[in-house]
Subunit: 487 residues, 2 copies
């Protein structure tokens, strides 16, 4: 069975917390009700006080109950799990080696079958991209393709495209010179080069918990350990936990997705980004900022990035057009601050230069001025699809399921009760039903989040999607007896 | 001055050898003449017997003189330096750290100015490539671009293109499954991934002497040491020296360009390739085979590769379309034998996938059947240009200059007498005259080959080229007094 090597989920205190959460959900416990005292609970259930304390603490962090000094714990007024988001994550402490490639590649291979309902893929529906228009740009730029440019492209890449990227930074309030920008083969190559620029084998890097599996793959490849930091599903990494890690563990770098993080969908508010940069500056620790989803906000304006607040060249900002415009073109970039020369050198050593026609086509497209119109259309579609998915999961998944409601990107994170079907088992059962999902352990170096799924809402909503969610919800609730830990 | 940190060139024995070579060239010493005995030479010049022996040995290895048992050394019958090729290289022994990026990147930056006569570039003239036809293929494949393919390309890349590559292997006598082939961002990414698959930091890898600077850059990036092996300018690495290195130093891999090596232009004969594979198989040592020039033979048929003889999956064969068809597209591949799964995994970790439109355009072009016709045209042009360049260098460079006459590719290696202008000084003086060259030290981890240049004959011949070679020859002969070592 896949995942047999992973630690078992659902410790005793989580089971207790979920049981109480369900009583709240089912109105057995009502707002204002007092919970059994720790001693009562210990006696009634033959468990230790520590277990009860941990369970109450977890319920408190989820916003379901509150403690009142000298009175005990009480159910919160508007607490209903239906509307609740997952709690702040509590990853295992310390720096850990990463070994996740097989799990990730298996997952993506399963998701590549086009007969499958693609709730597990990493990309939105191709119909959201203006492929015809970009292909026309490819034709135009191919005809203009100067013969010399084909053989004398420096490692930094097409200058016209770098200018267009520089203009977009400026329009979002960040002033970046064209020469700081190095074009890469998608953001993934850029992120790998950044990691190479700021770490060596055996170093440690702080990531979110859960975090993008691409970050874990890059750490694994580089032989760098992951320190997973508590991360809030709405506003991202916990800065006091990060400060503590910086002080006590002195990691060589921090790698974050500051906007619409994959998989949580969380975004750091503007002032939190500023505080993050201040904190990192105090420790002279570089930030690898993966910002590939920033342009896909559902409302309002393109959010700031940590890069905006960087006065010391410590932020290596990576992005691409793969999520917003042209996935197959594999055109990304890095604006690496004080590390820009290193990135240029490493890019040259790694692959000399990027694909000229792809870069020229995107430059042509951006100059045509159609990008903003396309993005507006794409954002509106993603927002509508998110609402449909959230509504559907809320109706079909087991009682006590919590989920994120991101304001950008195209992923939600679904946190199922402890007695739901294990996420890896669920993944396998779903594939039989021709539905893909991304199981939680893909997003952790330690096989955590076995009760979590990442679902993609980048695809048009329809009855097939609604049916797929109903099927997933049914599988999630099919908890085999063997999987329920005895009390 | 660039290169000040490099070791001085022209040791005493090399000076003596060049002096005698010039006497032969000038007919002061004629075919059949007996050279002074070692004792006579020692006394006449106040030098040690070892110096004389080394000089005579060098002249012998260059084919200028021969030793006859109990009679002494004699000038060879048809010996004239005009027709001679450089000698087998004698690199410093041992494994060495590499630090060459700055030298290489400076060199390439200088060569990127299109006002400059491009004898130093790494590419042939863009006019040799069928850019219009490929751009039309790009247009055709863009219109056929299936939306799904844009988001579900696995790390191995476009299957149609991999099939076409597999067919070409087969037509050259090598049977490779489509699934062994992984498409990469140019050969350079592929070579880096191969190195990553078979080495770790601190390992040693055997390379040719001189060798392609891209190999040195990759070793530097990976923190792997270079063992430079004696290499013959006509038939490549010396197998007995390699056997000795394998036995005594146990390197983790060997990295060779088996056909039309950059910079020498040497090619291993078919049987030597077979012997190479046998030797490596005995030591279970993987071969990274860089074969980007194989298709650019000037006569006859596409040569075999070491891969052809590999029965144990030890050869990681890398190539690309960058030198033969579409430089700016950056489409290369690896057929990595027993390491194919590792390469697929590493490719995914490094950059997920390659550029879909570029891959699709090349698949379209190859299927159109125009590739062979284009190659025939390109080969004929390169052959004519080689003859013009060799003739011009022979007429304009200082007496005693030796050069290679490769039967493929588009580089010659020019080995100037020890009292010529230092190659790095020459490079700087040439740039002032708007001519680029690639100085010898770019091709060595130890700053060797300071009397050598790589010249590119991939550009149309004309009076400007002839004039450029005359200028280079004049600079080469301009030896400043300070540079001549006292006898």
């Amino acid at each position: 069975m896949p995942g047999d090597h992973l630690p078992s989920k659902g410790s005793r205190y989580e089971q207790l917390a979920d049981e109480i959460a369900r009583q709240i959900e089912d109105n057995v416990l009502r707002p204002g009700d007092r919970l059994p005292s720790v001693r009562q609970a210990c006696e009634a259930r033959q468990i230790s006080p520590a277990t009860v304390f941990q369970a109450y603490y977890l319920l408190e962090s989820r916003g379901l109950i509150r403690s009142e000094p000298r009175s005990g714990y009480f159910v919160n007024p508007r607490a209903t799990t239906r509307s609740l988001e997952p709690a702040l994550s509590v990853p295992p402490k310390g720096a850990h080696r990463v070994d996740i490639t097989t799990l990730v590649m298996d997952g993506l291979t399963l998701a590549a079958d086009r007969e499958i309902i693609p709730l597990g893929t990493a990309y939105p529906d191709p119909s959201l991209f203006p492929l015809d228009t970009i292909n026309r740009s490819l034709g135009v730029s191919a005809r203009q393709n100067d013969a010399w440019s084909a053989v004398n492209h420096l490692p930094t890449g097409n200058e016209r495209l770098r200018r267009e990227i520089g203009k977009r930074y400026l329009s979002h309030g960040t002033d970046i010179g064209v020469n700081e920008i190095v074009l890469t083969n998608g953001a993934m190559e850029g992120l790998n080069l950044c990691l190479e620029a700021v770490t060596k084998r055996g170093d440690s890097v702080v990531v979110e918990s859960p975090c993008f599996y691409g970050a874990l793959l890059a750490l694994e490849r580089r032989g760098v350990k992951a320190i997973e930091a508590p991360t809030h599903p709405r506003d991202g990494i916990d800065l006091s936990a990060l400060a503590n890690i910086l002080e006590t563990q002195r990691p060589q770098a921090v790698w974050l997705m500051t906007n619409f993080q994959n998989p949580l969908g969380c975004s750091m508010p503007r002032e939190k980004k500023r505080a993050l940069v201040d904190l990192l500056t105090r420790y002279e620790t570089p930030l690898i900022e993966d910002d590939v989803y920033g342009e896909l906000h559902h409302d309002g304006e393109t959010p700031s990035s940590a890069k905006t607040f960087d006065r010391h060249g410590l932020v290596l900002h990576c992005s691409s057009f793969s999520k917003t415009l042209a996935p197959g073109y594999r055109v990304g970039w890095v604006a690496a601050g004080r590390f820009a020369d290193d990135i240029r050198r490493l890019k040259f050593m790694a692959s000399m230069a990027g694909s000229i026609p792809a870069q020229a086509a995107l430059a042509e497209y951006l100059q045509s001025g159609s990008y903003e119109r396309h993005l507006r259309h794409m954002r509106a579609a993603l927002k509508a699809q998110k609402e449909a998915l959230v509504d559907s999961v809320t109706r079909h998944f087991p009682h006590g399921t919590r989920l994120t409601r991101p304001t950008g990107g195209y992923f939600i994170w679904v946190d199922m009760p402890w007695d739901s079907t294990d996420a890896l088992t669920l993944r396998d059962a779903a594939i039989v039903e021709k539905i893909s999902v991304s199981p939680g352990p893909m997003f952790s170096s330690q096989g955590e989040f076995r009760n979590c799924l990442r679902l993609n809402f980048g695809h048009p909503w329809g009855t097939n999607m609604e049916q797929a969610i109903a099927t997933l919800g049914e599988i999630a609730g099919r908890a085999p007896a063997a999987m329920i830990a005895s009390p």
